[in-house]
Amino acid sequence: MKIQNEKLMDIADQTLKWLNENGFKDLVANVTVNRDLTVKEIKMKKTLTIKQKKIITDKFLKTKVK
């Protein structure tokens, strides 16, 4: 069955919500969600510290954080 955009947008919404609630409010530029429903990439507005980046990659194991 073809994945619909609104399902992917829901996942992007949930990802943005989690980031906002975990100390990254106003730091996130955008989120990309693949058709397989994985979060492909989280693009930040500025370079994160190693500790900050680890918080995200621990939650989103397969996601590229830029």
Partner: protein, 209 residues
């Protein structure tokens, strides 16, 4: 000469507008359901009235050319109810609704008085953080700039599209679409509780930059 051709060569003082939709006629528009109306009672507006979030309501128009690689879009937007999940204004590859669309640059709202920008492609969806501080019944001027690297969205209260910025500028990476030739206003179809969303849009311009 078709209206689209006239629009394509229409010029405005200070801007080189490729297209301007002033919503004074339904020429070229196709409507799905009745929640979207254009120039009802001669108001010169695109009105969305209680667009549901669980059934397809839509209107669309072929603008007669593909969006260029760099451009500025200007859109007058006024939310008249607390927006639910909806796509007030988008440029897409086909007239297919947003939920199933394969290529598009989309303005999206989702709960509260929020707005953001997203792109959909055959492989993924990318969306920016939401601007969350819009107020119902306030006239906003939304500017989208594609500089061939990023597509950025800014919201202003000033009609000059420069003053009174609301929140910060948000952006997504430019997917370099070359086939976006359809302007559409569309509701959500995938679930939701049936809540309606209302807004008004006017004067959508495409300016090559």
């Amino acid at each position: 000469m078709s209206l689209n051709v006239i629009n394509a060569f229409q010029k405005f003082a200070g801007d080189s507008a490729l297209f301007d939709e002033n919503y004074e006629s339904t020429d070229g528009w196709t409507f799905v359901r009745t929640e979207f109306s254009i120039n009802a009672s001669g108001n010169g507006l695109l009105l969305a009235t209680n667009v549901p979030d669980n059934a397809l309501a839509q209107c669309y128009k072929d603008i007669g050319f593909n969006l260029p690689s760099t451009y500025t879009l200007k859109i007058e937007y006024k939310p008249t109810s607390t927006p639910n999940n909806i796509y007030p204004c988008s440029f897409t590859e086909t007239s297919t609704q947003i939920n199933s669309q394969e290529k598009g640059v989309i303005i999206r709202t989702n709960g509260g008085t929020t707005i953001n920008i997203a792109t959909v492609s055959s492989g993924s969806v990318t969306q920016a953080s939401f601007i969350t501080s819009l107020v119902v019944d306030t006239q906003y001027y939304v500017k989208i700039v594609n500089d061939d690297s990023n597509i950025s969205l800014s919201v202003f209260t000033g009609s000059d599209y420069e003053t009174g910025q609301v929140g910060s500028t948000i952006s997504v990476t430019d997917p370099n679409f070359t086939t976006l030739d359809t302007l559409q206003h569309c509701g959500r179809t995938d679930g939701g509780g049936g809540t309606g969303t209302s807004f008004a849009i006017n004067n959508v311009s495409v300016i090559e930059s």
